[in-house]
């Protein structure tokens, strides 16, 4: 089992969610994060003070899936989240050693 973690642009959430449900993934967890990278931010001016804001709002999506699904999931996310402009984000894949559904105690693939 793997967790696919993706950093995406906020307004792409609905499309990514739809793409994932499209390939049969029905659970995910989203976190609001701030990203720092190549995409340049903006300048904010408050009277005398100017601040370069380099941390941009992003969403982090975490999806736990069976190992054989990882490729499809990456494809779905990439397809939906891509605008072709700097700052579209990244996908990272980790291994999970164990998964449990709290409600039932089911584990691993059954827990998803």
């Amino acid at each position: 089992m793997k967790i696919v973690m993706a950093i995406i642009k906020p307004f792409k959430l609905e499309e990514v969610r739809d793409a994932l449900t499209g390939i049969g993934v029905h659970g995910l967890t989203v976190t609001e994060v701030k990203g720092y990278g190549r995409q340049k931010g903006h300048t904010e001016i408050y009277r005398g003070a100017e601040y370069a804001v380099n941390f941009l709002p992003k969403l982090k999506i975490e999806v736990a899936v069976a190992t054989d699904q990882v490729k499809k999931v990456i494809g779905a996310i990439t397809g939906a989240a891509k605008t072709g402009q700097i700052g579209d984000g990244k996908i990272f894949v980790f291994s999970i050693e164990q998964a449990v559904r709290i409600r039932t105690g089911e584990t691993d693939a059954d827990a998803l």
Partner: protein, 486 residues
């Protein structure tokens, strides 16, 4: 010709006063300090309706990335309208024009606020300092312009708004306000009628009649057509509502409209705004009486009753139809009630206002939910459904509820009773014709005029930001700031 116009309370007392104090009118009347205080208070209340009232009501409904955009657009509108009003707007609206355009627009005799003295009220012999009249009316111009912003929210560049406002206020608001609200005041009419009654030989009668005719002819187009609009059903609400509607059609829908979640970012701000709107609206409606007399109290009371009743109506209708009474629904109902009672506030009786409130609640609810869903226009904050439709309900309702048989005040004819004034007989058909004329002329003038101005602005500076900018939010792209940094 039959004159229709505003009503004052305490007519018998006034008549007595007129006879008792008749010679005093020859001299300059001086303002009563209670009236001056009331009008200053009313002015500041209308200011607070707009900033922060309206800006919060609207601002709470947009997404947080466009909050400052909304707040700043409203604040800018207040400021720029205010300055233009002082430069030439007041003069164009509230002085007599000349020649063929006189029915539609005034002149420049009071440009730069020169030559202010005292201003007439709706009671013969009662005046207020003209400066406070200037300011009170100024706040009306400002809020009318600001109301439009709700229709085109979240997707219109600040530069476009910055250009739109001076044009709109000049070519749409000033003419409509002049048409509906400009008149020469009651004193000239009463004096001429008195002279006519006193005249004995035919020649004197003729001269006196001519003077009376002249006094009656000194007014705007819709005013003379007999339309009554106590505090701005057509001038403010239909006017801004239709200007917003054509605006939202020309500007186009927000990116993601109908697909993305565009939930209000803070109904708390919307609630604060709604409460401040109600708070300030007492100045708006009861201030429109221009003096702290009994009929100000009437307007004040109607502003309570109709508003509360529309809020409750909306709430219960929504509860039944949608399953839950929403906060946004209750406060939207309250605002719709305020809109509907605006033209009626000084004319309707208490129970008339209550009925008006129920009607406004049902009709506006229907427009903001069903009609909007069917036609799918992106009138982002429902300026059309609440202000234009509510204003029409109010304008027509006023024509009905002014009827003394329904507890209304009737319409004062200052020329009656040899210039002592009196309540004109109520004529349903005639009054409704006048009211319809009022509604239609306003819809056409503002609808067409606003469309032209939106198009001109589009050509000169462009109405919309790029899609990326719209997505990032206007706060950052137009103003370089974020509303919240918690």
């Amino acid at each position: 010709m039959k004159l229709r116009n505003w009503i004052y309370a305490g007519l018998p007392a006034l008549i007595m006063a007129i006879f008792a104090a008749a010679p005093a009118f020859a001299e300059d009347p001086t303002p009563n300090k209670g009236d001056t205080t009331w009008m200053m208070t009313a002015t500041v209340l209308v200011l607070v309706m707009t900033i922060p009232g309206l800006s919060l009501f609207y601002g709470g409904l947009v997404r947080s990335k466009n909050m400052l955009s909304m707040l700043t657009q409203v604040f800018y509108t207040e400021c720029v309208v205010l300055i233009i009003w002082c430069l030439y707007g007041y003069s164009l609206t509230f002085t007599a024009g000349s020649g063929i355009t006189a029915d539609f627009i005034g002149g420049f005799s009071k440009a730069f606020l020169s030559g202010l003295t005292n201003a007439a009220t709706f009671s013969t012999g009662v005046v207020i300092p003209e400066g406070v009249y200037v300011m009170f009316q100024m706040t009306f111009a400002a809020i009318t312009a600001a109301l439009i912003l709700g229709s085109v929210a979240e997707r219109t560049k600040f530069s476009a708004i910055a250009l739109f406002m001076p044009l709109w206020i000049t070519f749409v608001y000033f003419p409509i306000a002049h048409m509906v609200w400009y008149w020469g005041g009651p004193d000239a009419i009463a004096a001429a009628a008195k002279a006519l009654a006193a005249a004995t030989d035919p020649k004197a009668k003729e001269t006196a009649q001519a003077a009376l005719d002249a006094a009656l002819a000194d007014g705007g187009f819709l005013y003379k057509a007999g339309a009554i609009d106590f505090a701005g059903g057509s001038v403010v609400h239909i006017n801004s509502g239709i200007a917003g509607m054509v605006g939202c059609l020309i500007v186009g829908k927000r990116i993601g409209y109908g697909k993305d979640v565009m939930a209000p970012h803070s109904l708390v701000m919307t609630m604060i705004g709604a409460c401040l709107l109600w708070f300030g609206w007492f100045g708006f409606n009861a201030g429109s009486n221009l003096e702290a007399s009994g009929s100000a109290v009437v307007a004040f009371l109607n502003t309570f009753i109709c508003t509360a009743m529309t809020a409750l109506t909306w709430m219960f209708v929504e509860w039944i139809v949608k399953g839950k009474p929403s906060t946004l629904g209750v406060v939207t109902g309250a605002v719709a009630g305020l809109v509907a009672v605006t033209p009626a506030s000084g004319f309707a009786g208490s129970m008339g206002s209550l009925v008006l409130g129920i009607v406004a609640g049902v009709v506006c609810f229907f427009f903001c939910t069903t009609v909007k869903s069917v036609f799918k226009y992106d009138d982002a904050l429902d300026v059309f459904g609440v202000h234009c439709i509510g204003g029409i309900v109010g304008a027509l309702g006023t024509g009905i509820l002014v009827n003394p048989a329904l507890g209304g005040t009737g319409i004062t004819d200052y020329a009656m009773n040899a210039g002592a004034g009196g309540i004109a007989e109520y004529d349903f058909l005639a009054q409704m014709t006048s009211q319809l004329k009022d509604v239609i002329v306003t819809l056409l003038w503002s609808g067409i005029g606003s469309a032209i101005i939106w198009k001109i602005v589009d050509i000169i500076v462009g109405l919309r930001p790029s899609p990326e900018k719209e997505r990032e939010g206007l706060d950052i792209t137009d103003h370089g700031e974020r509303a919240y940094d918690m």
